[in-house]
Symmetry: D3
């Protein structure tokens, strides 16, 4: 029996918004891919902390895409949502959008999937609330998170098998 009450994706949905400055970019004015990763990790950590009510650490970053570059002077929104919850970990999806505040045109620039583990006060993995999906979109996201996880495990096994062949 599980004592922790379940939570919906909306309960922990998290948003970070930054106006990109010179320190996040190279000399040509493009924001470093690594800077975008860093803020995705931060947004994912925020959603996972809200879902679990605990300190969390990053366990994996999967399938992060860079569709279009981000420029200095753009306002970037990192929207994070818990897609699936397992025993002590969650998958958080992060959608990144960049906007030029003068023209107010907005572009979808990145997607990231981050797995985070909740820790208790002694630093050991700690159970997290179950995820309660409330509509079809949330159920689809959970199913895709399960698919990514299954693929990750299958890929690892395939690599081990090939190496020992």
């Amino acid at each position: 029996m599980r004592s922790v009450p379940s939570r919906t994706p909306a309960d922990s949905q998290s948003v970070l918004v930054r106006w990109m400055g010179v320190t996040d970019a190279n000399s040509a004015g493009y924001v470093h891919g690594g800077a975008v990763m860093r803020y995705c990790d931060e947004a994912a950590g925020l959603a996972a902390t809200r879902h679990s009510g605990r300190r969390v650490v990053t366990a994996a970053m999967d399938r992060m895409t860079f569709n279009e570059p981000v420029h200095v002077g753009e306002v970037v929104t990192f929207q994070a949502r818990v897609n699936a919850a397992w025993r002590t970990s969650v998958e958080v999806g992060v959608r990144v959008e960049a906007e030029d505040p003068r023209s107010q045109t907005r572009r979808h620039t990145n997607t990231a999937y981050v797995t985070m583990v909740a820790l208790d006060d002694d630093g050991r993995p700690s159970p997290v609330p179950a995820l309660e999906c409330t509509d079809d979109t949330e159920r689809r996201r959970e199913r895709e998170a399960q698919l990514r996880r299954a693929n990750r495990l299958a890929e690892r096994e395939e690599i081990v098998r090939q190496r020992s062949a």
Copy 2:
């Protein structure tokens, strides 16, 4: 006759959200007042840019209050709204709220009023759209911005008068 169409406060409302880290704080874990100011200025600049569609510069920071300290590890939201528009400048109000993501309790920590000037491509002050208030709250905010401005001018005159007395 004014060729620039008017805009509502909602058209340019702007939000920045940051998770406060060690670099924003002193060694006791309190976020520097100056760091909070810096991000208020950034959020105000964003709203002014969206309202005017132009590059803007800060002309004045007025009546910024610090009700409660912000701590490292809190998520801080800077919500900026254009309160009033004059010929080439706007007053932007910024409301700052801090939240501990584990307990999800939220506190109103600061308010700031920032005056920003729009610039044309040669760096000269440039006309901004009029502000179209759509409800009583927006009209009240505009009236209070006018009051702050009148007081600012009266105070300056009073000081000049006293100095030359």
Copy 3:
């Protein structure tokens, strides 16, 4: 009876000097208004710490003006002086000057008035030494600080009155 001896403005006068670099500026080479605010707050905190001999926190930032932009490569001086002392707080005036070190021409770019509160070891407001003005200029500055404070309180009351009308 007050046990803390009084102090003059000269006793706590404080100066910070920074050579402005790329990290303080936008991509066009102008130093962010928010960066200037941050260092004003720092200089004011230094003067208030020296006056009170205690840890201080920012309570308000008032009437900060931006007369002229500051550029990357300029040396900026933040000169802070206690203008008035009340029971547990002080108003600190900060004068900002920017200089191009090659031409050595110097410009007055900003003025800020910051109210700071002294804290005891438990984080509660703590009495500060009285301010002992020693000449007419210091007495004028104290009078103007009182005027700003009176206006601030009057403005707040006026706004409360209008909102409840």
Copy 4:
């Protein structure tokens, strides 16, 4: 016929080494996962730049794992190697190791796989040299990169199929 000569993994192998400081960590002294990601991206970008002789951008970050946390005060090595080269992109594997310099014990903390695209002077994808594997280990790494790529494409198709079902 391809005019660009092929290159071996050793030709572009790249290493970054940083001593982790307070600015990379949270207040408990753990280095942010996002900071580790950022430096992985940097190391991968370096290897891809050396392989292609061109400016590169990040296209995807895959399968990054966080086996153990990194602490402030540890020296962290990011070793990047081109695993496979396609027409205009490469997969770079990054191995992260952390060492406490006093005890000199070294731990493998992370692995990351980053896909980078080479750009010509107009910012368009540009052909990269073929990868010439010189031993069995390099050939195994190339095979595993192909597997990751195939899985990535299959997963995307599976998700599209399910969504349209």
Copy 5:
């Protein structure tokens, strides 16, 4: 005949003052020696720029001592003075003092001697004004700078002689 008028040490004397924060220190609260070096270099560059009226680059850092550690929370003053001027370079002496603003006790923590070269607009070494010493202290400092320079050259020759022996 030299067309550039001579300058006294007082003409270019330069001061930088910083309140040391967490980002300049290790986790134990001591400011990194390397951070102190960086600001010494900055202060020396400022004095050399003012003396020469030109852009300058660092040519050498000599005999920098660390008498006592600097702590987070101390205000540090970097006072730079041109000690000697040669054809296209100057030696700048930097005295570093740290002060705890609550107790207002001040300690001399470092001394550095930096050689800087002036550059013309094409980046080539450019003549600098002669140094005009106005009292015995300034003449002593110039003599000691000459001694350091002579020793530096003698040491280099001795090392070359030994290596080729």
Copy 6:
């Protein structure tokens, strides 16, 4: 009798590698001399920590040269080696090389000699292992470190003698 076993230079040889970004440079794209100093200090501290197995502090920076400027976008290697060990201190030599990763041309840009002191847990100087040179190059480096030290002491005495003359 000495209880601490001796160590060779190879035992503690240390390398830091950074890809230089905008935050280390001025607006013209040249990396600040002070930034290079800071990383030299870091690399030297790493070698001294590995040699002594203890926390170390910088005691002096000597004879640091700047042969050529470093540019944003270059990868810079800081290679540190213990040249000589005395009772509680060591001299560490740091060789700095910068490389443009596209052309892969490498330049020797700086040399630094840093003296570091090992501290015990109470912050007092602590004995360090003797240095065991294993070939002629290491013995030459040790001899030159002794020469630098003798010159430093002689110079200090000469200055004291002149001042008291």
